[in-house]
């Protein structure tokens, strides 16, 4: 189930011609956890978007298992994400007006009819596992740490082989951040999921198998491996 990541000659060039990302080669074994760090504006988010298949104009190869995202159409990339990728964002990006369960089950809304009930059940189980015992409360009443856990539950609803997180602890205070790191690592480990997490948070980076530093769009000289 786990997917390996194999990136080669990945280049993302902005409309103005500036090179935002230039990754000659990167390989990650299935089920591994990769941390990404680097100064602000270095291209970390751009990298995450690229491996999620969100960037339309990217050259090179972004392969998850046998699937090269760079060679796929936007629609095919969306289908790949729906089936294989869970995403987590710094500011959660929840629908405040919906309950925790409805938020965590959003992927069910556009899934094939036959899979909707299963996705909703998975969302409910994920919330329980993450310690959110009141899934029918509006998320607007949740604390920051709880909201981020709802967004983790949402990312896991489709039982993804890949989890991508962009600064997931940046909006959380220490205690909540630590809990989230533990949750993130355990759901990745237990599900044999490949995890890529962009972060400045040393504790998060410490929990990763490997850390890549990006500077000015390029991998910095080998540091942690």
């Amino acid at each position: 189930m786990a997917l390996a990541l194999s990136v080669s000659d990945l280049r993302v060039v902005a409309a103005g011609g500036r090179t935002l990302l230039d990754i000659p080669a990167l390989d990650l074994p299935p089920g591994a956890a990769l941390g990404i760090r680097g100064p602000s504006g270095a291209g970390k988010t751009t990298f995450l978007h690229a491996v999620a298949g969100l960037i339309d104009r990217s050259a090179g190869r972004i392969a998850w298992g046998d699937t090269d995202l760079a060679a796929l159409s936007a629609g095919a990339r969306a289908r790949f994400r729906a089936g294989n990728v869970g995403m987590i964002f710094q500011d959660f990006l929840l629908f405040d007006e919906l309950t925790a369960l409805d938020n965590a089950a959003i992927p069910a809304l556009f899934a094939p009819r036959g899979r909707r009930a299963g996705l909703r059940e998975a969302a409910r189980a994920n919330l329980a596992r993450l310690g959110l015992t009141d899934p029918v409360r509006d998320v607007s009443t949740f604390s920051g740490g709880e909201r981020q856990r709802v967004s983790v539950a949402r990312a896991l609803a489709n039982r993804p082989a890949i989890v991508l997180a962009d600064e997931p602890t940046a909006a959380l205070h220490r205690e909540a951040a630590d809990r989230l790191i533990a949750d993130l690592v355990s759901v990745a480990r237990d599900g044999n999921r490949t995890l890529v997490a962009v972060s400045h948070d040393p504790r998060l980076l410490d929990a990763m198998d490997r850390v890549l530093t990006i500077e000015d769009g390029r991998p910095a000289e080998r540091q942690a491996a």
Partner: protein
């Protein structure tokens, strides 16, 4: 095909037209939503900006409501004026303006017009196919209600016999319209003239007793006091219409030699053919004209129809501008959801799902606006009808009918098509730009 359509009952035609007008909405909805269930997201979007959304719905409702309200009102006005003229098959008067004459005789808005002399009246009244030839006498009023002198047979014709009490049978008796605030048995003294110019006390000593009240007619006669025409003539010192040797006679036949003249004769003939015959006979003379109020109204409507067409063009332009601002508003509103929509696509939602979500949101606002617009239109016509009725005494019922429902349905379908546009723009925005927004 055309025959088939025309052969259908009217209700079936209206229903089918309604379905046809709603069909685009249904088809678009079906095509857009097939396989998706974005309802929870749409509800969240509606709730998040509820005030802006409500304002939006209100704007659409008011513009739709005023449009269909005027449509209904115009129809009601036609029906009301036509119904008010129902009892006036034909009018014979001295030559002049038919519209002025119609306004005077049917809608009781008298102006001074030349009179038809007694021998002409006799000619009409003695015609074998004429059943009623009622002279009218205007000029007096009581407490704002015009006093109209006429004959008992005309009162019976006007009221269709629906009379509380009885018709007048002697001078000094009066029959009142349904809205005259007097009781049976009440006594009233006429004032000379009408409206603000009425002179009280000019007819000292003349008095009428109310002996009957007509059921509501829905026209200005509801507000009138009907008395024997002889009484009006007598009050003004004119001949009584009858030879001096029969001073108590009331109503027809009149004696041409003692007939003071009448501004208009309301004629009712035996048959439609007879009515047409009479018209050509009296319309082609130098001293009279004869016309059908119904025909004059139809001509009036034709003229009004041109005005209405011009108004429709303006209405369409206005609606177009409203639709345009609605579009711009929707674009702005949907921008507020940019990040949410980008999130959905980052989660792998197909473009069509995001499209369906935005379209549902926009369509909900537009359809709610159209439905609420029907209610606004209903209230608008109610208020307009009241105002127009109060000013003209013409009963106007302008309930929303099929044309208005069709208009609202057409607007809804058009709006559903328009709502595709903001959905499309959302789809064209790059996902990462949305995520970074």
């Amino acid at each position: 095909m055309r025959d088939l359509w025309l052969g259908l009952p009217v209700l079936a035609q209206d229903l089918l037209l309604l379905l046809a007008l709603l069909l685009p909405l249904g088809l678009i909805g079906l095509a857009v939503l097939r396989g998706f269930a974005p309802a929870p997201l749409v509800r969240a979007m509606l709730w998040r900006f509820r005030w802006a959304n409500a304002l939006f719905v209100l704007l659409i409702a008011v513009s739709v409501g005023l449009g269909i309200g005027l449509l209904a009102q115009e129809r009601g006005l036609r029906a009301g004026t036509a119904q008010a003229a129902d009892k006036f098959d034909m009018i014979v008067s001295a030559p002049g303006s038919e519209i002025t004459m119609m306004m005077a005789a049917v809608y009781l808005q008298p102006t001074s017009v030349p009179l038809v002399p007694g021998d002409t009246y006799a000619e009409i009244a003695d015609h074998p196919s004429v059943r009623i030839a009622a002279p009218l006498a205007f000029g007096d009023s009581h407490d704002g209600a015009p006093i109209v002198g006429t004959t008992a047979p005309f009162v019976a014709h006007l009221s269709d016999g629906a009379l509380d009490g009885r018709a007048f049978g002697a001078e000094g008796e009066a029959v009142i319209g349904a809205r005259v605030p007097l009781a049976l048995g009440a006594r009233l003294e006429p004032a000379h003239g009408t409206g603000d110019a009425a002179e009280h006390g000019a007819h000292e000593g003349t008095e009428f007793t109310v002996v009957g009240r007509m059921a509501p007619l829905g026209n200005p006669w509801d507000n009138a006091i009907l008395v024997p025409v002889e009484s009006v003539w007598a009050t003004h010192g004119l001949a009584s219409g009858h030879a001096p040797d029969s001073p108590t006679q009331l109503g027809p036949p009149f004696d041409a030699r003692y007939f003071p003249g009448t501004p208009a004769i309301v004629v009712k003939a035996d048959s439609l053919a007879a009515t047409y015959g009479l018209r050509s006979q009296f319309d082609q003379r130098a001293d009279t004209m004869a016309f059908f109020p119904g025909t004059v109204l139809t001509r009036l409507y034709t003229v009004m129809g041109d005005v209405r067409q011009a108004m429709s063009v303006m209405a369409v332009v206005t609606q177009g501008l409203v639709a345009l601002s609605v579009m711009v508003g929707l674009m702005i509103l949907t921008r507020l959801f940019r990040r949410n929509m980008a999130l959905l696509r980052a989660l792998g939602a197909p473009g069509r799902f995001v499209f369906a979500t935005v379209w549902s949101y926009a369509a909900t606002l537009l359809v709610s606006g159209a439905v609420l617009g029907l209610a606004v239109g209903q209230v608008a016509t109610l208020v307009l009808s009241r105002v127009v009725s109060a000013r003209t005494d013409i009963a106007i019922a302008a309930p929303l009918g099929w044309p208005e429902i069709h208009a609202a349905a057409g607007f809804t379908s058009l709006a559903a098509a328009l709502a595709l546009l903001p959905a499309l723009t959302v789809l064209r925005q790059p996902i990462i730009a949305g995520l970074r927004a």
